[in-house]
């Protein structure tokens, strides 16, 4: 009887921990991909979006759907970094292009 109670308790605890780990991973994915999407939108607004970013975010969403939140976070972090780099590129080029004009 005690043995059965012990097993049932362990199962409940295991399910509880697994659930909270998944919830934490999912939250990390949501946060990382929201940041990536925001940075991508800013780059798109400046008309300087890189074509590597959209597919990366799409892959991240696919990974999340398959339950691989770790992979999704990695992809979205990279997408955010690349978008931030393209925003920096746009801001730099706003003036830098003049120096490149054939004179």
């Amino acid at each position: 009887m005690n043995k059965q109670r012990l097993i049932a308790g362990a199962l409940v605890l295991g399910a509880f921990f697994a659930g909270s780990v998944q919830a934490a991973d999912e939250a990390a994915y949501a946060k990382s991909c929201a940041a990536a999407d925001e940075a991508r939108k800013m780059a798109a607004e400046l008309r300087f979006e890189w074509n590597t970013v959209g597919p990366m975010i799409a892959k991240a969403n696919d990974a999340a759907k398959a339950g691989d939140f770790g992979k999704a976070v990695k992809l979205c972090d990279e997408a955010r970094k690349q978008s931030e780099a393209s925003v920096a590129q746009a801001r730099k080029q706003a003036d830098a292009w003049r120096a490149a004009v054939v004179k």
Binding site: A44, R47, N51, V53, A96, R98, A100, V101, V102
Partner: protein
């Protein structure tokens, strides 16, 4: 006093750069290529990369004996002449019935305050006559545009920038796009087609920008198909890993305005055949 003179000289230089007229830009552009390829005559740049690549020029001449764009020309002529459902044709929408007018495109339309390209006006014509617009990069629009270019062969590009600050702003926006580095590879149009024209990118020689727009639309062996200039812009942007902008959107039309102005006075020889 010395400091004051330096400030004045600096200000004059900056003003000079800021106020370089389109004609100053065009002359500087031509001079650049004359220095870079002293043996190439300016008029030969209408042949694109073949102007600077003798071996490829020979191959191209052979290709031109049975031009791969011939089918598209026939299709374009037929589409151009076929009446819309309301009985009107493309000829009703364009000056001179649409024949021999390619050299005047793109132009700045003071009514709308926008740069108008020939493909944009083909679709405007369709919509005005109750037809659905065509897709901009390839297919029927490339064929119609190819036919219109063909009827204009030998005419010299005559791009006008009217005395209108909006026209100058459109030209400047196109120029800014041309010289701005973009994409993950951080390349501008000028990086490839001005400063590295004639250099190899993998197995291909980079073509000079001078004369680029004279031969569009083109049949590209790589596409096994015809494509408009904006299809090429799209491809170039992808190659530097930038997300392409919409064909016939404001940015690409302004870019076409600048690029075509740089080739002003050169003969239309479209459609062309390219690798």
């Amino acid at each position: 006093m010395k400091k004051m003179i330096m400030i004045l000289v600096g200000a004059a230089l900056i003003a000079g750069l800021a106020w370089a007229s389109p004609e100053d830009d065009r002359e500087a552009f031509i001079q650049y290529y004359q220095k870079r390829f002293p043996k190439v005559a300016v008029d030969d740049y209408v042949n694109g990369v073949y102007a600077i690549d003798e071996a490829a020029y020979e191959q191209w001449q052979t290709i031109e004996e049975f031009p791969p764009y011939e089918l598209a020309l026939g299709e374009g002529k037929e589409l151009f002449e076929t009446p819309f459902a309301n009985g009107k044709t493309y000829a009703d929408c364009f000056p001179n019935g649409g024949i021999g007018i390619r050299q005047n495109y793109p132009y700045f339309d003071t009514e709308t305050g926008q740069v108008k390209t020939i493909e944009l006006e083909i679709n405007e014509c369709r919509e005005k006559n109750g037809e659905k617009p065509l897709k901009y990069k390839k297919g029927p629009i490339a064929a119609i545009s190819a036919y219109m270019a063909y009827t204009s062969r030998g005419k010299k590009l005559d791009i006008v920038i009217p005395d209108d600050p909006r026209a100058m702003a459109a030209y400047e926006a196109g120029k800014e796009f041309y010289y701005s580095k973009r994409g993950q590879l951080n390349f501008s149009c000028a990086d490839c087609h001005v400063y590295n024209a004639g250099m190899m990118v993998r197995a291909d020689k980079l073509s000079p920008a001078l004369g680029h727009p004279t031969h569009f639309p083109v049949y590209r062996s790589k596409w096994d198909d015809m494509g408009t200039l904006h299809r090429r812009f799209d491809g170039c942007n992808k190659q530097v890993r930038a997300k392409p902008l919409p064909s016939q959107g404001e940015e690409y039309r302004n870019l076409e305005y600048f690029v075509t102005y740089m080739s002003n006075g050169m003969e239309v020889n479209g459609p062309g055949a390219r690798k």
